[in-house]
């Protein structure tokens, strides 16, 4: 019924074979006497052992398939090939970058049938040079906290030999994990307190619902050696501190929803509040007022300047909308030193550790923009080419 060629096809593309057996001729005269060479395979790109300072990790929350969250390795200096690789961060996963360990760690949740079945929480270790997994530690109890990405749900302590994992069932606790021993050492109950700020040699602090800050020092086996509380470190009703701070060494600078800037010293066994809070101040052009706004709303450069995403339409409920300017602060002089106008509303800010530092901004539309951190000049846009929903940015230290 149908036309039938009758030709046997075995092996290669018949058309290629047919062509190959006809008489070849030089292409376009003598312009290209030699053909392009065959290329080696298999071939998989590797990353440098020491990642350039222009590189950052960007967390891609992937709203449309949260089970398939990921972290992407991005070269902010590359306008045309910024995406260097993808590491899995499944189901509200968290990630840590350790140059010292030469690896990325992810804390994730899996179900045996994607959305149902047996739940497994685990930490996975990924090599920085090939982004391949080298092992895992299973976290018992199915209690790992799942939230929109907060860095403080998965943190190092004990000189990056241990990791701390936040749990929420909604009972709150922190699991202590020996990374090299691939073992869970124990669990610290944390009723009424949330998130993890590494503190001292071996320990952490957490903010509590009564406005206090609770610190725990751990012994060599991961048990509580000492603890302490500072009362009234924040007014959650009127001036709640954004959870994610800007780190300057072991000092963390927090910004409040109405613009207070407050430092905490986490270098000792127990956290200390740094005297001399100040505010982001005011400026013209706001309706009704400038307030910090975004997801990763504050960050710091190597010199300790603070960069805060600011929104001119500040009001109750505006604190996650994102900012149209970055304001820069000198924490020693307690003054604003610059205002940087952004090309578009942005929700996360970070500063690279390059010799000439750059601001990296994640926009609500997924675009990543790069600015000169000193002059504030726009440098380049990476486009929306690295992540579906970029929410946090971690520069190579």
């Amino acid at each position: 019924m149908l036309r039938q060629s009758g030709r046997k096809w075995i092996g290669l593309l018949p058309s290629a074979l047919a062509l190959a057996t006809s008489s070849p001729a030089l292409a376009d005269g003598a312009a290209y006497p030699a053909a392009l060479p065959a290329e080696p395979m298999p071939a998989v790109a590797h990353l440098p052992a020491a990642w350039p300072k222009s590189w950052v990790l960007i967390h891609d929350f992937n709203f449309n398939s949260i089970v398939d969250g990921r972290v992407v390795v991005v070269d902010t200096a590359s306008a045309n090939q910024p995406l260097k690789g993808i590491v899995r961060a499944a189901q509200f996963g968290n990630a840590l970058l350790s140059v010292k360990r030469g690896e990325i760690l992810t804390a994730e949740t899996f179900y045996s049938r994607l959305t149902r079945g047996t739940r497994t929480d685990a930490i996975t270790f990924w090599n920085l040079t090939d982004l391949k997994p080298t092992g895992e530690v299973v976290l018992p109890g199915g209690k790992r906290q799942q939230s929109v990405t907060y860095p403080q749900l998965f943190q190092f302590t004990n000189d990056e030999k241990w990791a701390l994992v936040a749990n929420f069932t909604p009972a709150q606790s922190v699991s202590v994990v020996d990374l090299d021993g691939r073992a869970v050492l124990g669990e610290i109950d944390l009723p009424g307190c949330s998130q993890i700020y590494p503190t001292g040699t071996r320990g952490f602090s957490s903010f509590c619902a009564d406005g206090s800050l609770f610190s725990v020092a751990l012994d060599a086996t991961g048990k509580v050696a000492r603890s302490g509380t500072i009362r009234r470190v924040q007014d959650i009703d009127q001036q709640a501190l954004f959870s994610t701070p800007a780190w300057v060494g072991r000092t963390a600078w927090f910004v409040g929803q109405r613009g207070v800037l407050q430092g905490f010293d986490f270098s000792g066994d127990l956290a200390k509040m740094i005297p001399g809070a100040f505010t982001v101040g005011t400026a013209a052009g706001a309706i009704p007022e400038w307030r910090p706004s975004g997801w990763q709303v504050i960050n710091a450069d190597a010199a300790g300047h603070l960069y805060v995403l600011m929104n001119p339409a500040g009001k109750e409920g505006s604190h996650k909308d994102g900012g149209t300017e970055v304001w820069v602060f000198d924490t020693a002089k307690k003054v604003r030193t610059a205002r940087i106008a952004l090309k578009a509303q942005s929700i996360a800010v970070a500063v690279t550790r390059e010799d000439i530092p750059h601001l990296v901004l994640a926009r609500a539309d997924g675009v990543i923009d790069v600015y000169d951190a000193v002059s504030g000049a726009f440098v380049r846009s990476l486009g929306a080419t690295v992540a579906y929903n970029p929410v946090t940015i971690t520069p190579v230290p």
Binding site: S65, R116, G192, A209, E316, H319
Partner: protein
């Protein structure tokens, strides 16, 4: 006050429903904790599919509950964070088929522009099916950082359910906080 009675009554019933949850709450010393859904960010108000027409209107059919339940501006959504179940096979107060409604959740207070009452809204998540992907919405009136558990909408509240995989969020009236708040 009748509204408040209803709310208190429902709260009691809600807590009574889950034994394991009750013990958790006892441990926390809290009557009701947590957060509705999660997501965040200004993308929330953008269409997930910018190429296509937006969702068409879904209303209550009663003028006392005005507004389009497929839009982020609907009055009950004043503190929601996630995909609107109205667009996902459920309703403003119902989970889609195949999902399980989270037994406890975050409670917000939103003012109904028609009757000017402040209602207590329960933002129960629907769990066990992957991201709905439709009508992402985030509003943060009264939202506070995670330290105040019951006032933060970044948690995945698919807890106490067979699966913690998040599908969408509801906005259920559980009572009246105030008959005339203004």
């Amino acid at each position: 006050m009748a509204g408040m009675d209803t709310f208190a009554e429902r709260l009691t019933r809600t807590i009574a429903r889950g034994t394991s949850r009750r013990s958790l709450l006892a441990k926390l010393g809290l009557g009701m904790t947590g957060a509705a859904a999660f997501p965040v960010l200004p993308v929330a108000r953008a269409a997930t599919h910018p190429e296509g027409p937006a969702h068409q209107t879904v209303t209550s059919g009663t003028i006392q509950d005005p507004g389009d339940r497929t839009t982020c501006d609907y009055w009950r959504y004043c503190a929601i964070d996630g995909f609107l179940c109205t667009c996902c096979g459920g309703a403003v107060n119902q989970c889609p088929p195949g999902t399980e409604m989270s037994p406890i959740t975050w409670i917000g207070t939103c003012t109904n522009p028609a009757d000017n009452r402040a209602y207590i809204i329960s933002y129960n998540d629907c769990c066990g099916t992957s991201s709905c992907g439709q009508c992402l919405c985030n509003r943060n009136e009264g939202d506070r950082p995670q330290v105040r558990t019951q006032s933060n909408n970044d948690y995945n509240w698919c807890l106490g359910t067979g699966s913690s995989v998040y599908n969408c969020s509801t906005a259920v009236i559980v009572g009246v906080a105030l008959d005339h708040p203004r």
